[in-house]
């Protein structure tokens, strides 16, 4: 079956036997993390994995174990073939308490992608509303 992984601003569809795990080879593309001897790694940062047998079964990464290892929340609907990964609540709290504005990319009114960090050293006012 196919499974869609919602991670940050990305949605990636991969093959999944169970609806709750994805192939080791698909992990990097779907999540930005990859499995190495050191543990789960993103760039130069690696997080040790205490129970690799819980994380990897038959060459597939269990998404619940993956989220647990990274202390990230996850919602998995195996029947519908979709999972959403969130950010670590502790990391979000630390960033907000330290006043760090998370970067983001959105389409502007002309459909062109705009990334906040590329605006440069300017004052920025982010206005959010809904037209309902």
């Amino acid at each position: 079956m196919k499974m869609t992984i919602l991670n940050g601003e990305r949605a990636t569809t991969v093959d999944s036997d169970s609806g709750s795990s994805i192939g080791v080879a698909d992990l990097l593309n779907a999540t930005g993390w990859q499995l190495k001897a050191e543990g789960l790694c993103q760039g130069d940062v690696c997080v040790p994995v205490r129970d690799r047998n819980e994380l990897v079964v038959d060459d597939a990464v269990d998404l619940a174990a993956f989220a647990k290892a990274l202390r990230r929340p996850v919602v998995i609907d195996a029947g519908a073939g979709v999972a959403a990964l969130g950010e670590s609540t502790a990391e979000v709290g630390d960033k907000l308490h330290n006043r760090i504005a998370p970067d983001f990319t959105l389409a502007d009114i002309n459909g062109q992608e705009m990334t906040m960090s590329k605006i440069g050293r300017k004052k920025k006012v982010l206005v959010v509303w809904s037209s309902w």
Binding site: T4, D77, E87, A101, M116, S130
Partner: protein, 154 residues
Amino acid sequence: MPSCVWIDEDDRIVRPPDVTPVNDLFKDFTGIDSSLHHEELRAWVKGGVLPLALADVGKLQNVPTGDDELARLHRRVAAHLHRVGNDDAAGPHFETARTLAPWDWTIHRGSLPLEGDDPFGKSFFDYVENWGANGAPGYAWGNSALRSDRSSTD
């Protein structure tokens, strides 16, 4: 109702998210004078004057709880399933999101159109009444804090 957050040249938040009406059309509902934000914004842009001490900005951030984060994920799953035409599977995720974050307007009202309901319909106004009866939780909290700050200096 627009909300604003101010971000400085170093990508640091200098005014936390806050309800900031463009004009006074809904002043009876919000109790917020729109000119306050306009004046503060001019003072910051033109003179670099901030309305809050930076030490207080971090304290006023509305940090999501674990349930808030899970609610957002359930809503994200629901919205995805709705987009791909699987509304039967989406429904329980919408409901779980509401249960986990009952006073989150984005989750509640923002989900109504995706569920075929009217965001200006009876279910919305029932929600508003219930929310008001519960002390209007989660809304304009920052503004209330900022307004009390202003009133002490006005």
